[in-house]
């Protein structure tokens, strides 16, 4: 996958499916980012968030201890340094306020959409206007919440 973001992002992966988490780590590495931790449960995720203050947290809704990803997003986004992005096959469970998250990457995702979403996040964090062109698998909380909730 081509472009690398100039500034590597420090990313916390919150995903209980080990295979998905491992592959995602490899992908993030390919994209030039740093995975600061992988959490499979809500407690782990919140503890790792407090310990590492990641730039980005990619959060699945369904974790080992149930559909607790929403609470995780709430807790992690309380730290202004962290941008939370949901990564789930279950977008219907995301509340209207997105629990503080910036958007959602729909599973199953393609590597291009993950790369594009992270580029957008990095642009926003750097104060630039990001582009969502052609990123149908990535939806923002405010702009397009309507299509997430049927």
């Amino acid at each position: 996958m081509g472009e690398m973001t100039s500034q590597p992002l420090r990313i916390l992966v919150v995903e209980d499916e080990v295979l998905i988490a491992l592959e995602l780590e490899c992908l993030l590495d390919d994209l030039g980012h740093v995975t600061v931790g992988v959490a499979g449960s809500s407690q782990e995720a919140i503890a790792l968030g407090l310990a590492t203050h990641p730039d980005v947290a990619l959060v699945d809704i369904h974790l080992v201890d149930g559909p607790t990803g929403v609470a995780v997003a709430q807790a992690l986004s309380a730290d202004r340094r962290t941008t939370v992005v949901f990564m789930t096959a279950n977008a219907k469970r995301i509340p209207d306020d997105f629990a503080g998250a910036m958007g959602v990457i729909a599973k199953p995702y393609s590597e291009r959409v993950v790369a594009g979403a992270l580029r957008y996040v990095a642009d926003c964090r750097a104060g630039h206007a990001g582009s969502l062109d052609g990123l149908d698998g990535f939806r923002l909380a405010a702009q397009d919440g309507k299509r997430v909730h049927h």
Binding site: E17, E23, C26, H62, A106, P108, S110, D136
Partner: protein
């Protein structure tokens, strides 16, 4: 002429015809004297005696209220009293009692009888046993209530069943998506750990095919219509993935895909077909850094999906024999499954593939009722 009714009645009644007609009538009738104290009964016919179970001796000289009892509605009785006082006619249904104590619904009409001076001399009343009609009404009311209850119960059952089904659909949808992600991750992980070469290429190729299926699956349920998806949305996203994976300066992809609803049943085969043809063109048409362009078109015409994929690369016969083999036979299998036709041709330079796939009934269903069309279109 104006004297005729009078003379008619006089002549008929002279023989007591009216009296005997009323006496023999099957309609219960009774006559009370309005000018004597407490309006005693002065006449009743046999039908009245049969209805009430009394003998003439039992009722002669008594007031009609003797027929009332505990279940008789006092308001109705009061209204009868008011009508009598005004000399007005009256009709009502009320409960009356027979001699044996049993009761019945009495539908009665009451009218004053006047003499030549207009003075009320008698009250005349005709009755009918309305118990059967009343029972029928009560039975109907009960039946209606029962029916209402049953409908409410069934509606609640159906609603619960629907909620369950919807929850199940979401659950299954979620699991399918998650499993597709796991399968894809598994393939990619294995590919990463496989040395460069044919095996790794095969794994990556499979991961891409799964990704194409995943993309179309994701679109199936996102538009709210589980039976159809918009082929253009899929193709646009797919082409986006394709372009991201190639050197954009060297190979240009032009896609012109019409917006069209396609049934869910055709989703997976169409996704695979588009994937194979487009990646084949990208992979094999331009070896050795050869530059070129790929054109993809899709239109709905004559109830069929017409798709072309062309490149200006080296052409079919010039390519190495094997690598494209699997992809090509996959495409032919899928086209056969969709009962379509496919034509491969050499365009010198390059290759052109033209496919025609008939659209099924679900795809062709009236587009005005189509949530895919109404959904905010794909902003680009």
């Amino acid at each position: 002429m104006n004297v005729r009714p009078h003379s008619l009645i006089d002549s008929v009644d002279a023989d007591g015809t009216f009296a005997s007609a009323f006496a023999a009538s099957p309609t219960p009738m009774v006559l009370a004297d309005a000018q004597r104290e407490d309006h005693p009964i002065v006449w009743a016919n046999a039908a009245f005696l049969a209805l009430t179970g009394y003998d003439w001796e039992d009722i002669a000289g008594r007031n009609c209220r003797m027929l009332q009892g505990p279940l008789t509605d006092s308001d109705t009785v009061a209204r009868i009293g008011e009508a009598l006082a005004k000399g007005a006619p009256f009709e009502a249904e009320l409960v009356n009692y027979r001699k044996d104590g049993s009761w019945f619904w009495n539908g009665l009409t009451l009218s004053p009888v006047r003499d030549a001076n207009g003075t009320v001399t008698h009250y005349y009343s005709a009755q009918a046993d309305m118990t059967g009609k009343r029972n029928l009404e009560v039975a109907m009311t009960h039946a209606n209530q029962d029916l209402g209850r049953q409908v409410a119960e069934q509606t609640a059952d159906l609603r619960a069943a629907l909620e369950q089904k919807t929850a199940l659909l979401h659950e299954v949808d979620h699991r399918v998506k998650n499993n597709l992600q796991v399968i894809s991750s598994l393939m990619l992980l294995k590919a990463r750990r496989t040395p460069e070469g044919e095996a790794r290429d095969a794994l990556n190729g499979m991961a891409e095919r799964i990704s194409a299926l995943s993309t179309v699956h994701r679109m199936l349920y996102s538009a709210g219509d589980v039976t159809r998806f918009n082929f253009r949305e899929f193709a646009d996203e797919f082409v986006g993935d394709l372009v991201a994976g190639i050197d954009g300066d060297r190979t240009v992809v032009n896609a012109s895909i019409d917006s069209m609803a396609v049934s869910a049943a055709m989703a997976a085969p169409l996704a695979l077909m588009l994937h194979e043809l487009a990646t084949n063109a990208v992979r094999h048409a331009f070896p050795n850094d050869r530059a070129g362009r790929i054109g993809i078109t899709a239109q709905r015409r004559d109830d069929a999906l017409h798709m072309t994929i062309e490149d200006d690369g080296i052409g079919l016969s010039a390519g190495p024999p094997n690598p494209a083999g699997f992809g090509r036979s996959l495409v032919e299998m899928v086209v056969r499954q969709l009962r379509g036709t496919i034509a491969w041709s050499e365009t010198n330079p390059g290759t052109r593939v033209a496919i025609r796939v008939p659209l099924d009934a679900v795809s062709l269903r009236d587009a005005t009722a189509d949530p895919v069309e109404e959904a905010p279109q794909w902003e680009k």
